[in-house]
């Protein structure tokens, strides 16, 4: 799988413009479709997909350093609570509350990152799993500030324009394009190549002068700040914020998105976000069976495509070449 990246990294120069065209076309399509089809439920679903794309893409950034974080939803929560509280208690405008929330998530990441990023592989999974639980416990137990399990409701809309579902969809879409764009740019630049290097051969990269831990912490901090965007927007989307939105289940969801879409590529994270947000909705009609189907689909995808859904593309290409 990784060899696919390796080959692509060199020979994409001429293809990049085509890729850009594709991305621009997709963005245009995403921006225009609600004006043509008026289905409000699809709009709500698309808003959720856009929000999850932010979380999944930012988690992908961490995954590219070789660490799979199970605390991502917790960081979203930190940003969400800080933004909502600064808006509702301190009266800050949304435009100030959003970056403040992200800054808070980044600060927590910066405080914990240097400690936990020394731990690798499955141990990192476990550390972050527990850290996520601690964050959830804080949201739940610190009732005076967070409202505890009841959360905080009647969160005001970011601005009157965004109070309508369509307005909010454009806000979420804009944020998603921006955040995913940032991640894509990071990964496509010299920074991304260095990130790949320190994942693939940490010691070698370090001996070539890459301050590995510092880089990992920096990436972790940036990713958590970006995840914060989802946390803040989700609170506004739901008009309330409570610990259930940021539990370990949500973190796990983001990991599943990445793994099922494909951990090697950013596109995998986005495919995963779409797949995992849309699929349960498609199955929702079969009330009792939906989760059974969903479970079986997860097994089949992981067994047949260990590299994620994105592998289908590579397989088809290989098939095409073979002929």
């Amino acid at each position: 799988m990784a060899s696919v990246i390796g080959a692509a990294a060199r020979s994409t120069r001429p293809r990049i413009s085509a890729l850009h065209g594709l991305v621009a076309g997709a963005a245009l399509l995403l921006a225009l479709w609600p004006l043509v089809f008026g289905n409000k439920f699809l709009l709500a679903l698309a808003t959720l997909v856009a929000l999850y794309a932010i979380g999944a893409a930012s988690l992908h950034l961490i995954i590219r350093t070789g660490h799979v974080s199970f605390a991502h939803a917790g960081f979203m929560g930190v940003a969400g609570y800080v933004a909502v509280l600064s808006q509702m208690r301190l009266g800050l405008p949304f435009a100030a509350a959003l970056p403040l929330g992200c800054l808070a998530a980044a600060t927590v990441a910066l405080a914990i990152g240097p400690l936990i990023l020394r731990v690798t592989g499955k141990y990192f999974v476990l550390v972050t799993f527990l850290f996520g639980e601690i964050l959830r416990l804080v949201f739940t137990e610190w009732t005076a500030v967070t409202g505890g399990s009841n959360g905080i409701f009647d969160v005001p809309p970011p601005a009157p324009v965004f109070a309508t579902p369509l307005g909010f969809y454009y806000l979420a879409l804009g944020a998603a394009v921006l955040c995913v764009g940032i991640v894509a740019r990071i990964l496509g630049s010299e920074i991304g190549r260095t990130i790949d290097a320190l994942r693939e051969a940490e010691r070698l990269a370090e001996c070539s002068g890459v301050p590995v831990i510092r880089w990992k912490v920096a990436v972790f901090v940036v990713a958590c700040a970006l995840a914060g965007v989802q946390g803040v927007l989700q609170a506004h989307y739901l008009r309330l914020i409570d610990p259930t939105t940021f539990s370990i289940v949500e973190s796990l969801n983001l990991v599943v998105m990445n793994v099922i879409g494909g951990m090697q590529r950013l596109a995998g994270a986005l495919i995963g976000a779409l797949f995992l947000t849309a699929l349960p909705e498609l199955l929702r009609g079969y009330v009792e069976m939906q989760r059974v189907f969903f479970g079986i689909i997860l097994i089949i995808v992981m067994a047949a495509l260990p590299g994620g859904i994105i592998e289908i593309g590579a397989r088809l290409r290989a098939l095409g070449k073979a002929r």
Binding site: N39, K40, F41, L42, L43, A44, L45, L48, L137, T140, E141, T143, G148, S149, N150, G151, F153, D154, P165, Q234, Y237, L238, R239, L240, D242, T244, T245, S247, E281, R284, G285, Y286, V287, E288, M289, Q290, R291
Partner: protein, 390 residues
Amino acid sequence: MTRALLALIAAATVALACAGAATAQEELKIGAVGSLSGGGTAWGLAIQRGTQMAIDEVNAAGGLKLGDKTYKPRLVMYDDQYTSTGGKTAAERLVNSDGVKFILGPAGSPPALAVIGVTNPAKVIVLSDGYAPAILKNEAKAAYNFRALNSNVEFTPAMIAWLKQNMPEVKKIGLVCTNDAVGQAALPLLIDAYKKAGYEVWSELYDRGTKEFTPLMTRMIAQGVDLFDLNFNAPTEAGLLLKQARQAGYKGRIWQVGGPSVDEIMAVAGPLADGFLSYDVFDFDSPAAAKFVATYHKQWPGIINAQAPAWYNAAKVLFEAMRRAGTTDVDKVRDALEKLDGYDAGLFGPVRWGGMADYGVNHQLLLKFLIVEVKDGKRVTRAELQPEQR
């Protein structure tokens, strides 16, 4: 099991057929939201089954005649996963995709608050459940949402008054509850109520999902508690708390101002449950209940969740309001609902609305309730109480 599978296949076929056949004529979609996965599933199924029974009843009688039209109600239900995101998505789908105008459920504050955020602006009637006062006490002055089941605000005062009268020897109350929305919102109110009545209170919260309470029970016994209130604990936790309290050597009284979960407690704790007193919403042994129980067991075996009759009741109340309004127009149905006092759906006696004093709006359905005691493995009714209309 075979029957369940057959029912499932049938349901899937019907669902597919309906999805294919666009909209059947004169069909009236009744929405439901509830937890069909995760820890709150028992409550979700109570919503689904109670509502389904009321719908079946209407259809068996030839449908719902409103004005010159006859509607065939059909249940459309989505899972809220007991989270706010799930509740919001389910409500969005019901309101915007299925075009539903009437929703039953969800149960539980996080999804209920999220659902109301969608339905109130969209002018959709919701009969929900959840102990957070904000469900009724909101900026929209409840507008289109009603609460179909008593919350602690309704039943606590009457129960404490009964306790004072019947067990004057009790001095110190022990309370243990989950740190979830119910525990954090409702427990402080309960503690206040006890303190106002002159009791000493010791309380402790535990993390949702805990099954082992022996250390906590040891802690409680060391505090010298002489009445242990299982308050708002979910049925299994309530049963385990009782069993482990007894196993840890607790000798005092145990009762539950909340729940209700008498059957589950008897199942989990066996003979240790003897002498346990509880709030109960519904007397399954009463003559009025016999028909309900029989109908229920035709479709589903096993223990009936105590909330199922209340949802059946809520759905019947909704249908009656539609009949009286003579239309499916949401505003007219809502006005009819508010004026429904006195209608008897058969299980809980005449409808009474309340809540003005607590929430500023009379959108709380007041249901009569019981205090029952476990004696020799059987449930015995000690008292029948009514929530105060305020």
